[in-house]
Symmetry: C2
Subunit: 203 residues, 2 copies
């Protein structure tokens, strides 16, 4: 195997993740092995282990890139201060990302890291960053002292949209519905937001 030494550590890091992404996007996350990635970049598997402690570690870094990509999609939405319209736009951007990168998204949620693999803080911060976009869209519906209620709403919308997307990607939604995913997302957002408005002020 050719051992190329014309890449800096940073270049090799980018190269490895780009190839890993290609493998996942074309064949799904089960095709991702250290050997496959090493072959694709033309280095020995040993060189990979200078960069990543194991395959799980590589996956965490790859998933971090996926979170960045998703964040870039959501960042296209400029909030107008109307929670319903803003959340519909975010949901559309989220489902658009899922449509373009189904297998990256799948890896994000379906690949199971070893139980003792704790996610690094810089990783969970990326998730918090995504949720902060939903939080900003929901903010007009809550008083400053209602941050707990607002956080629950953020998490409900995030998890629910995940459910709609997950059943769609897994091919399990067609069993349930022939209607479009966008339609379900719309009903979720419109009614949940209307519900938040109508119960506002009640305990």
């Amino acid at each position: 195997m050719a051992r190329r030494s014309d890449h800096s550590r940073e270049e090799l890091y980018g190269l490895v993740l780009a190839e890993a992404q290609k493998i996942v996007e074309s064949e799904g996350y089960k095709a991702l092995t250290a050997r496959r990635v090493a072959e694709a970049v033309g280095y020995s598997p040993g060189t990979l282990y200078n960069l990543f402690s194991n395959l799980d570690d590589l996956v965490v870094h790859l998933n971090a890139r996926t979170l960045d990509l998703l964040d870039q999609s959501l960042a296209q939405v400029s909030l107008k201060g109307d929670p319903e319209a803003d959340l519909l736009a975010l949901a559309k951007a989220y489902l658009g990302f899922l449509d373009r990168h189904p297998r990256l998204w799948e890896q994000l949620f379906e690949y199971r890291l070893a139980d003792d693999c704790e996610l690094p803080v810089w990783y969970t911060d990326k998730i918090k960053g995504l949720l902060a976009r939903v939080e900003a869209a929901l903010a007009p519906l809550f008083r400053p002292q209602e941050s707990q209620k607002r956080d629950v709403a953020v998490q409900v919308l995030w998890a629910s949209l995940h459910g709609i997307g997950s059943l769609a990607i897994g091919g399990k939604l067609e069993v349930v519905t022939t209607r479009s995913v966008a339609n379900l997302a719309r009903s979720l957002v419109v009614n949940y937001v209307a519900g938040l408005k109508s119960t506002r002020g009640s305990s």
Copy 2:
């Protein structure tokens, strides 16, 4: 290997599925192989293939049992005609099932059948039966001619609850929240139903 011939075809069918369920519940769906099941029941793998055309077929039958079990849990809820209360009770029963049988539930949604494996009608009918319970709880909110809107609401609640459960089981929800899954399900149901009520009559 002992070849027991003291079981009828029906008995063997029940035996095989019971052992397959045990393997999945104790070790997860990835541990499920024809060889493991054959060993557990004390028959040759060939005998299994007299009953099931392949492992996917066995999984479909096992998943059907899981759907039956879930249906039995939801059947414990007697509807009172109050959509919010009834849906909260159904959500609680659903999450209770998920809590008791996380790995069966996981197999239901995460195991991917081969692309050419079409689900039999008797299987999709079981899913329709589950959705019919949600539909019955939502029915008071819709006029008879609004069956399409009602179906969308059924699917939104089903997929959203799936999302909340799925992130919780996958250990991905703790990244997002430390709040209980029940809390999120409650917020989903209460606000979505309030939204349906508040937008009632509007187009």
